[in-house]
Symmetry: C2
Subunit: 105 residues, 2 copies
Amino acid sequence: MILEVAVLNIKPGFSLEFETAFSIAQSIISSMPGYLSHEVHRCMENSNRYLLLVRWESLKYHTEGFRQSPQYQEWKALLHHFYTPFPTVEHYEAVNHLCSIAPNH
Amino acid sequence: MILEVAVLNIKPGFSLEFETAFSIAQSIISSMPGYLSHEVHRCMENSNRYLLLVRWESLKYHTEGFRQSPQYQEWKALLHHFYTPFPTVEHYEAVNHLCSIAPNH
């Protein structure tokens, strides 16, 4: 299991539109091979900022499977115009002995 | 439930020492009032970078309860010298209709 992490900075004033678009877009990512789960969190210090966490079975399901799929073009069209600047996406692996819960969901 | 999020950049060459120190420090945070769970993840693109996620019952348990406690001084002494630069800590609230799982653990 790997964790995709992206801090999403949304153009000021477009948070609600972003949330509506994401509510549609999440059905795209949820249907991809290797997808496990996702969470979106809103920043309490900056109302234009969100944290996206997506769990994948392995890195390639995200970087090759999803990003090279036709479905990624739909995802892009729904979401990418909200971002400023365009987010840096990173991938993380759990350090199991430093987690209080099994991060496998 | 709120999520504390910190990207921890560790001084190059000190990742193992940081992990050892964190394995001790996690017993401190785990014993604090309002603490729910934590996870540490290692960045796949940058081996000196970790993501810390801590779930608290509410913001004040972290910002007032933990940070103003004597235990925070022990946490600092164990961990803060590993960071470069010192991390920005943010707090997030789940947008429940944009999560595939209930983020309450």
